[in-house]
C-alpha cells in the first residue's frame, strides 16, 4: 500500500533456506518491505534503493568460493553510505566473529539460533530508537 512509510530492509544471505525464513519473518510485520539478495555483490549493486537497514550474513562465500564475504560487503556498504545500519548474522557464536563485525562498524551481531528473530526485531527497534535520539541530539547541537 503506502510503501513510503514502511521501512526498507535488505536481507542478504546465501543460504536460501535461511533467507526464506527471514523473508517469512518480515512478511509478517506490516511495517517492513524488503529486498532479498543471495550475494553481497547484488546487495551493493542495489544500494541505490536506499535501504533503511541491512541484515547481512557473515558467510556469503560458502557456496561460491569467489563470492564477496560478509565483511567485504559490510565495508562496501559503509563506503557507500556509512549511515546505513547493518546487522550481521552468523551461525557462529564466536567472540572473534562478533568483534570483527563490530570493528567493521556493524550495528550488531546476531547468532542464527532459535532466538535470532526476536533479537533481530529488537535490534531493528533499537536502530530506529537510536536514530531518533541522534536526530534530536543533532537538532540540539545545531541550536547550541
Amino acid at each position: 500500500m503506502n510503501n513510503k512509510n514502511k521501512l526498507k530492509l535488505f536481507l542478504v544471505d546465501d543460504d536460501a533456506l535461511y533467507l526464506k525464513l527471514l523473508e517469512i519473518e518480515f512478511m509478517q510485520h506490516d511495517e517492513f518491505i524488503f529486498e532479498s539478495f543471495a550475494t553481497g555483490e547484488l546487495c551493493v549493486e542495489n544500494l541505490l534503493h536506499k535501504p533503511d537497514v541491512i541484515i547481512l550474513d557473515y558467510h556469503l562465500d560458502s557456496v561460491e568460493k569467489n563470492a564477496m564475504n560478509g565483511i567485504d560487503t559490510l565495508d562496501k556498504i559503509k563506503t557507500y553510505n556509512p549511515d546505513i545500519p547493518v546487522v550481521m548474522l552468523s551461525s557462529q557464536d564466536k567472540i572473534e566473529v562478533a568483534i570483527n563485525c563490530m570493528h567493521h562498524k556493524a550495528f550488531d551481531y546476531i547468532v542464527k539460533s532459535e532466538t535470532a528473530f526476536l533479537r533481530l526485531q529488537k535490534v531493528i527497534k533499537t536502530i530506529f530508537h537510536t536514530r531518533k535520539i541522534e536526530k534530536t541530539l543533532d537538532w540540539y547541537m545545531e541550536k547550541l
Partner: protein, 978 residues
C-alpha cells in the same frame, strides 16, 4: 395606520390625563408646553393659563426647580428629587420630581417630561411608621424589663419554693424562718397582683388600639366625603369622575395598606398606637411601674439577703445533718475529744467497737480505750502540736483488741481557737488479715509460677525430643527400607533363580521356605513404609485412568495359588454396569484389596472367599463403587472390632502366633481408604466369617486407560527386546541378567550412568533399567543426559530400593517413564518392560504397516513445530521452506562429503556451516547440530580426526532421512491444501 396612531396618541394622552401625579412637558427654556389635570389640581391654575408659563414658578423653591430642569437636560433624566408645589390658594404639596428628556426621530432633544409625584401621603405614612417603630421599640424595652422582672420574680419564687422545701424540713427548728417565708409569700402574692394589673393595663392598651382603628375608619369616611365634594366640583367632566373613582380606589388601597400595616405590627403596633394617644397615662403608669420595680428590686435584695441567710443556715444544717449521717454511717470509729481529752461525741461504730454505750462514752477519757493509753496520749498531743496525725497504729481495748490506724485533726471555731480533736480510728483487722492472706497468696503464686515454668521447660524439651524422635523414626524407616530391601532383593531373587535349577526335593522345599520368608519380610517392610508415609502425610494418591475390571482380576490372580493350596473357593462378583475406565489410584486400590483378600485367605481354612465389586451410584461425573471381601473364616469378636484397624493390632494376641502377620494390614487399609474419602466397614461373627467392605468414588473419564497402570496380560510372544541394565551392584546385575534371560530378552549391563551413555551411543536399545544410586554418574544424572543432551526418548525404568514419593517425583521430573521397586517382582518387571516397549511399536505399526514390528522403532528425525510457529502454519510458506531445504540439502551433503574426502577443509567447513541453521528449522535433534559444529571446528583447524568421518556419515544419514520425511510432509501439505 393613521387611525392607529391617532388612537395611540389619544390613549397616551388619556393615560397622562388619568395620572394622579402632575405631568408636565416643558420646553428647553423651561416653559410649560403641556400638562395634565393633576397639574391643574395641584396648582389651582387653569390649563390654558399654565401653558407657556415658567414651570418653576409653581414651586416654593423656583431656583431649585430650575436647576433640576437643567439637570434633566444635562443628564437626560432625573429621579425622585423632592420639591414642593405651591397652590394658588397657598396650599403646599410635597412631590418627588422625576423628569426625562424627549427627543424627535433624529434624536434632537425637544423638551422634557416631568412627573411630580405627590408624596404628602407617603410622607405621613413614613412618619407614622417611624413613630410607631420608635414606640414599639420603647415598648419592647419596657416589656423586656417587665419580662425580666417577671422572670426575676419567677426565679425568686422558684428559689423560694426550693428554699421552702428545705426550710420545711427545718421548720420545727426554725420558726422565724417560717414567718419570713410567709412574708415572702405575701410579697409574691403582691407581685402576682402587680402582674395582673399589668395584664389589665395591656388589655386596656388593646382596647385603645381598637379605638384607633375606629379613628382610622373615620378618617377614611372623611376622605370619602372629600372625594364626594371633589366629584361635585367636576360633575360635568366624566373623566374627572373617573379620576375621582380612581382616587377613591387609591384611598381605599391606602386604608388597606394602613390596615395591613396595623395588622402586621399586631399587638405591638396596637399598643404603640394606644401609647401615642395615652402617652401621659403610660408615662404615669411607667413611673408607677418603675417605682414598683424599684420597690421590687429593694424587696428582692431584701429577699436575696434573707435567702442567703436562709441558705447559709440551711446549708449549715444540711451539712451538719449530712455530716452527721456520714459520721454515723462510717464503719470507722469517729470521736471528737475536747482539750481535756474527754470524748464529746462519737459515732455508732465507736459504740460498736468499744462495746460501751453512747452515753457511757461521752465525757470519759478517750485514752482509756486503748491498750497503750500513754501512746494514745502522745498521739493526742501530736494532733494538737501539728494540727493533725495520720495513720498512727493503735489497738482499741475492747473485747477482742481491734487494731486501728489512728487519724486525727484539730477543729477550730470561727475565730481559729482550737476546740478539740476529731479522731478517726480505722479498723484494720480485716486489712491486716487480707494483707497476710495476700502475702501468702503471692508466695503460693510464685511457687506455682516456678513449678509451671519448670513444667513448661520440661514440656518444651519433651516436644523437642518427640519431634526429633519422629524425624529419627522417619529417617530410620527410610534407611531401613533401603538397607533391608537391597539384600532382600538379592536373597529373594537368587532364591527364585535357584529354584529354577535342578534341585533335590529337599533343596526345593528349603528354598521355597526361604523364598516365602523373604516374601513375607518384604510385605512387612512395605507395610511399615506405607504407614510411615501415611503418618508423615506423604501418601499421595494418583489420579490416573485405569481399567477397574482388569485391575481386579489381575490382582486376584496373585492369590490363585494360595487359594488352591488351602483348598478354598474364590468367588468373584463384578458388577457389569461399572464403567470400563475410571480415574483413581489403581496401585492403592490394589493394596487395599490385596490386604483384605490376603487377610481373608489367611484366616479362612475352609469355605469360600467372595470378592464383590458393586456399582452403588453413577452420575455424569463419577461412579461410586462398593468393594466387599467376605470369608468363612474365624471371624472377629465384637469387642475387638474397633481395635483391628489400629496399628499392630490383631483380633486376639494369639492370632499372630497362629496365623502370622504383623497386624498392619487393616491399619493400612483404613489409612488408604479414608484419605480418599471412603470408609471401611466390618461385619463379623465368630467362627462364621467376616465381611469387610469399603466404598470409594471414582471420577469417570473418556480417555483411555494408561497401559502402564493397568496390569497387562502377559505376552510371552514379545521377544528380541534389547535391555540395558544400569546397576552397580554385581549381585543385582547378575539377578537382572538372569531374569531378563529368562524372559528371552537381550541384556547388556552398565556399571554406572557414564558407561550406560557410552553404550547407548554405540548400540540402540529398546529400554533402559536404571538404578538410581550409583557411583560416577547416578541414575538421575544419566537420565537427564539421555533426555536433554542425547534427545533420546528411549523408555527408562528406574530401579529403586527406596520408594519414597520424593524419589518418584524426581524420577518423573528427570524424564523416567516408570519405576520398579526392589526387590524386583519378575512379573511386574516383565509387564512394565513390555508395556513400555510395545507402545511405540503399536504407533509405528499404524504409520508403516509394512515395517517389521520386531524392528526397533525408527523415530522421525524431523519436527515441523518450529516451522509451524515461524510461518504461523501457513501452508504456502511451509511448502516454500521445505522445497528450499530439499533443493539445498543434497547439494550441501555432497559438498560436505566431497570436501571431507578431498581434505578440502574450507568447502567442508562452508558446507557444514551452512547446514547448521537448517537443523533448528526442521526440528532435527540438536545433537546433529552439535555434530555439525564439531565437524566445522575440525575443518577450521584443518585437522584430520578419527571421529570426524563418523560424524559426517551421521550428518549425511540424518539429512537423507530428513529429506525423505520432508518430501512426505511436503506432499501431505500439498494434498491437504487442495
Amino acid at each position: 395606520m393613521k387611525r392607529t396612531e391617532l388612537h395611540e396618541s389619544y390613549y397616551a394622552s388619556s393615560l397622562i390625563e388619568a395620572s394622579l401625579d402632575p405631568l408636565i412637558a416643558i420646553s428647553m427654556n423651561g416653559k410649560i408646553t403641556d400638562l395634565n389635570q393633576a397639574k391643574v389640581n395641584i396648582t389651582g391654575i387653569d390649563r390654558e393659563k399654565l401653558i407657556g408659563t415658567n414651570f418653576y414658578d409653581y414651586f416654593t423653591e423656583p431656583q431649585k426647580a430650575l436647576e433640576l430642569c437643567r439637570e434633566v437636560f444635562a443628564k437626560g433624566s432625573i429621579s425622585d428629587s423632592p420639591l414642593t408645589f405651591r397652590h394658588k390658594n397657598g396650599n403646599l404639596t410635597n412631590v418627588l420630581f422625576n423628569g426625562s428628556v424627549f427627543k424627535d426621530d433624529s434624536g434632537l432633544v425637544l423638551g422634557a417630561v416631568v412627573v411630580a409625584r405627590d408624596i404628602a401621603e407617603q410622607k405621613w405614612a413614613t412618619d407614622l411608621r417611624i413613630a410607631n417603630k420608635e414606640l414599639a421599640f420603647q415598648n419592647d424595652e419596657k416589656e423586656k424589663r417587665a419580662a425580666e422582672l417577671i422572670l426575676a420574680n419567677k426565679e425568686l419564687a422558684f428559689q423560694n419554693d426550693e428554699k421552702e422545701k428545705r426550710a420545711a424540713e427545718l421548720i420545727l427548728a426554725n420558726k422565724e424562718l417560717i414567718f419570713q417565708n410567709n412574708e415572702k409569700e405575701k410579697r409574691a402574692a403582691e407581685l402576682i397582683l402587680a402582674n395582673k394589673e399589668l395584664i389589665f393595663q395591656n388589655d386596656e392598651k388593646e382596647k385603645r388600639a381598637a379605638e384607633l382603628i375606629l379613628a382610622n375608619k373615620e378618617l377614611v369616611f372623611q376622605k370619602d366625603e372629600k372625594g364626594k365634594r371633589a366629584a361635585e366640583l367636576i360633575i360635568a367632566d366624566k373623566e374627572l369622575v373617573y379620576q375621582q373613582d380612581e382616587k377613591e380606589k387609591r384611598a381605599a388601597e391606602l386604608i388597606i395598606a394602613d390596615k395591613e400595616l396595623v395588622y402586621q405590627q399586631d399587638e405591638k403596633e396596637k399598643r404603640a398606637a394606644e401609647l401615642i394617644i395615652a402617652d401621659k397615662e403610660l408615662l404615669f403608669q411607667q413611673d408607677e411601674k418603675r417605682k414598683r420595680a424599684a420597690e421590687l428590686i429593694i424587696a428582692n435584695k431584701e429577699l436575696a439577703f434573707q435567702n442567703d441567710e436562709k441558705e447559709k443556715r440551711a446549708a449549715e444544717l444540711i451539712i451538719a445533718n449530712y455530716a452527721r449521717s456520714l459520721i454515723e454511717a462510717s464503719l470507722d470509729p469517729l470521736f471528737t475529744i475536747n482539750l481535756e481529752g474527754k470524748i464529746t461525741d462519737m459515732n455508732n461504730a465507736s459504740v460498736n467497737i468499744t462495746g460501751v454505750s453512747r452515753e457511757g462514752l461521752i465525757g470519759t477519757d478517750f485514752f482509756d480505750y486503748f491498750t497503750e493509753p500513754q501512746k494514745a496520749r502522745e498521739v493526742y498531743k501530736e494532733v494538737f502540736a501539728n494540727g493533725f496525725v495520720a495513720d498512727y497504729p493503735l489497738t482499741i481495748r475492747d473485747g477482742k483488741l481491734t487494731d486501728v490506724l489512728f487519724n486525727g485533726s484539730v477543729y477550730k471555731d470561727d475565730t481559729g481557737n482550737v476546740l478539740g480533736v476529731v479522731v478517726v480510728a480505722r479498723d484494720i483487722t480485716e486489712q491486716k488479715r487480707i494483707a497476710t492472706e495476700l502475702t501468702e497468696a503471692i508466695v503460693f503464686a510464685e511457687l506455682a509460677v516456678g513449678i509451671a515454668e519448670e513444667a513448661k521447660t520440661k514440656a518444651e524439651s519433651a516436644t523437642l525430643l518427640a519431634e526429633n524422635a519422629v524425624k529419627a523414626k522417619q529417617q530410620f524407616l527410610s534407611n531401613m527400607s533401603h538397607e533391608i530391601r537391597t539384600p532382600m532383593n538379592a536373597i529373594i531373587g537368587f532364591t527364585k533363580v535357584l529354584l529354577k535349577t535342578d534341585l533335590s526335593a529337599k533343596q526345593k522345599e528349603y528354598l521355597t521356605a526361604i523364598k516365602m520368608s523373604g516374601d513375607s519380610l518384604i510385605v512387612l517392610i512395605n507395610d511399615i513404609l506405607d504407614l510411615a508415609k501415611v503418618d508423615a502425610g506423604k501418601m499421595i494418591f494418583e489420579q490416573v485412568p485405569f481399567k477397574m475390571s482388569l485391575s481386579i482380576s489381575a490382582m486376584l490372580h496373585l492369590f490363585e495359588t494360595k487359594i488352591l493350596e488351602k483348598n478354598l473357593e474364590l468367588v468373584r462378583k463384578y458388577d457389569k454396569r461399572i464403567p470400563e475406565v475410571l480415574v483413581g489410584d489403581p496401585v492403592r486400590l490394589h493394596q487395599i484389596i490385596l490386604n483384605l483378600v490376603s487377610n481373608a485367605v489367611k484366616f479362612t481354612n475352609k469355605g469360600k472367599i467372595t470378592v464383590s465389586v458393586t456399582l452403588l451410584e453413577e452420575d455424569e461425573e463419577k461412579a461410586t463403587i462398593e468393594f466387599g471381601v467376605s470369608d468363612t473364616g474365624i471371624g472377629i469378636a465384637e469387642n475387638k472390632m474397633d481395635k483391628i484397624f489400629e496399628n499392630f493390632q490383631q483380633a486376639s494376641s494369639g492370632t499372630s502366633r497362629l496365623y502370622g502377620g504383623t497386624g498392619l494390614g487393616l491399619a493400612i487399609v483404613k489409612q488408604l481408604v479414608e484419605p480418599q474419602g471412603g470408609s471401611v466397614r466390618v461385619e463379623s461373627e465368630i467362627n462364621k466369617g467376616s465381611i469387610f467392605s469399603f466404598v470409594l468414588s471414582f471420577l469417570k473419564t473418556k480417555s483411555e486407560a494408561d497401559g502402564e497402570s493397568g496390569i497387562l496380560e502377559l505376552d510371552r510372544e514379545v521377544k528380541n527386546i534389547k535391555v540395558l541394565v544400569v546397576e552397580d551392584i554385581a549381585l543385582n546385575q547378575l539377578l537382572m541378567r538372569t531374569l531378563l534371560d529368562d524372559f528371552g530378552f537381550e541384556c547388556d549391563i552398565a556399571a554406572n550412568g557414564k558407561i550406560a551413555i557410552e553404550k547407548m551411543q554405540n548400540k540402540p536399545y529398546d529400554v533402559v533399567l536404571m538404578d538410581l544410586q550409583m557411583p560416577e554418574m547416578n541414575g538421575f544424572e544419566a537420565t537427564e543426559y539421555i533426555r536433554n543432551s542425547m534427545k533420546s526418548k528411549i523408555p527408562i525404568i528406574a530401579l529403586t530400593a527406596d520408594v519414597t514419593t520424593v524419589d518418584l517425583a524426581k524420577c518423573k521430573a528427570v524424564g523416567m517413564n516408570d519405576y520398579i521397586a526392589k526387590p524386583v517382582d519378575e512379573r511386574i518387571l516383565y509387564v512394565k518392560i513390555v508395556g513400555l516397549v510395545k507402545k511405540p511399536l503399536v504407533t509405528n505399526a499404524k504409520e508403516d504397516t509394512e515395517k517389521d514390528t520386531n524392528d526397533s522403532p525408527k523415530l522421525k528425525c524431523t519436527d515441523l513445530k518450529y516451522l509451524n510457529t515461524r510461518t504461523k502454519s501457513n501452508p504456502v510458506l511451509m511448502m516454500e521452506m521445505i522445497s528450499l531445504y530439499l533443493a539445498q540439502t543434497p547439494v550441501l551433503v555432497s559438498s560436505m562429503k566431497q570436501g571431507f574426502l578431498d581434505n578440502d577443509w574450507s568447502s567442508l567447513q562452508a558446507a557444514v556451516h551452512k547446514m547448521i541453521p537448517s537443523f533448528v528449522i526442521m526440528g532435527i535433534n540438536p545433537d546433529f547440530e552439535n555434530m555439525a559444529r564439531k565437524v566445522q571446528e575440525y575443518a577450521n583447524i584443518q585437522q584430520q580426526s578419527d571421529g570426524i568421518y563418523d560424524l559426517v556419515l551421521q550428518l549425511e544419514s540424518v539429512c537423507v532421512q530428513a529429506c525423505t520425511e520432508l518430501k512426505e510432509e511436503y506432499n501431505r501439505i500439498k494434498n491437504s491444501k487442495k
